[in-house]
Amino acid sequence: MNPRVIVDRLVVFVLVIAGWQLCSSYFGTIWFSSPWRVLDRFIDELRSGDLFFQAAYTLKAALYGSLLGGIPAALLPFALRRRPVAGAILDPYFVGGYGVPKLALAPLFILWFGVDLEPKVALVASIVSFLVFFSTTAGVNAVNSQYVNVARVFGATERDIARHIVWPGAIPYAFAGFRIAAPYAIGAAVVGELISSNRGLGFLIQSGATDFDTTLVFVSLTTLTMIVIVVNLLVGRCERWLLRWRPAQRGLTSKVIGA
């Protein structure tokens, strides 16, 4: 990377920390914890292992929810490709389902699934599934019909076409869906914990705020930010490996997310 960019990034980082410190001095550390306090507390919480425990709980909800919601949602468009009538019938329901504000479902999920991991997984799944579904559907629809025609001529069956043409062509789109969904997944897990939980980073934020312990709130927020960055990097790596056949270009979502 350009050294100039690295230097400028550091400058921005210092400015952000300075702004933070300024806010903290102005409003008082009760309302706005300072960077030093947060760093100090962060190391303490890491040492005690508590931060790992809480972060792991949140991550578990986000991961299970993403898999539970994302995998069927990535496969469904392939099933619907050969069944255009079913697709046409279901389409308005998918659009409607996408429009429902999922976070508003949290109380219902808590009612149904209790206060442990299950309602958070359900909440995450409900958000991730729609994002991945619509993204993958776009990929399945974008399949190059010329590839399909040529493949039919040289003897490809419908199964071969799905496997060798539609599937590889749609993978970038499915991945874009997962990448966009990743921060939402973690966000949904946290919101689930904010509403009702005795574990997780969301719970930590909630209890910190209740105790006027803004340092704890900031520690949790910082941890969440770092988790989202790392998850994005991992998904990006995975994507780049799977899509190594593509000309060197920035991914579909990297422009948005910047990983």
Binding site: N149, V150, R152, F154, G155, H164, I165, L243, W245, P247
Partner: protein
Amino acid sequence: MSSAVPMLEVKGLAKRFPPRSGQAESPWILADLSFHVADQEFLTMVGPSGAGKSTLLNIIAQVDGANEGKIFFRGELIETANGSALHPGWNCQFGYVTQDDNLLPWRTMIDNVTLPLKLQGRFDAAARKRVDELLHATHLTGFERYYPHELSGGMRKRASLIRTLAYDPPIILMDEPFSAVDAQTRTQLQQDLLRLWNLGRKTIVFVTHDIAEAIALGDRVLVLSKSPAKIVADHRIDIKRPRDLGNLYKLEGFGDIFESVRRDLQ
């Protein structure tokens, strides 16, 4: 040259696409189009842009249906208008080299070339050897593991060509396969094609809008009219092979044929 039964025979083919909304009837693209190709014959068809050349090949390859007419392969009726389901490629008897190379971007060059063989369950030792020979003949050896975007336009064309040659269909349809490359590469590709054709003689139906290309490559040139397309002339090309494609205008008789084809096209 021609045996009793032609390799491929097209009779009275007509085609039009469904009318657009607000249109009572759509125009005919092909009308009463008939021709035949003998075994091992290199037939070229030349016609103005928009004459329905690609449509014609799509119908022969059975990726599209006709409204009227019949197609015979070795005397056997394989397609009737508005009949039963299409059989693209007629069970791998027809190869189709399209205008775009249509290599799958996520497969390496060699994986693209061998895909038809693999899907047909015929990728055995003999096929492997054949693929190696074709790669060698088209100077693609050493580029097997490259992805299509890493190859030059000419290389992609050659890869697309040998993908079809590798599974050895008796008839190969070619739709302006060399139209999107520069003139020099194009001559090279034409030479390669003629050399490959000479190695294992196939029946080829080669469609182009380039008169010189049609004459340089073909045993016979059919001239298509403007849409609705039908055959307006049939020229036998007696220029002896091998032909030096770098010096077309020095080939004996080239100028005369060129002139008469050009007149037919008007």
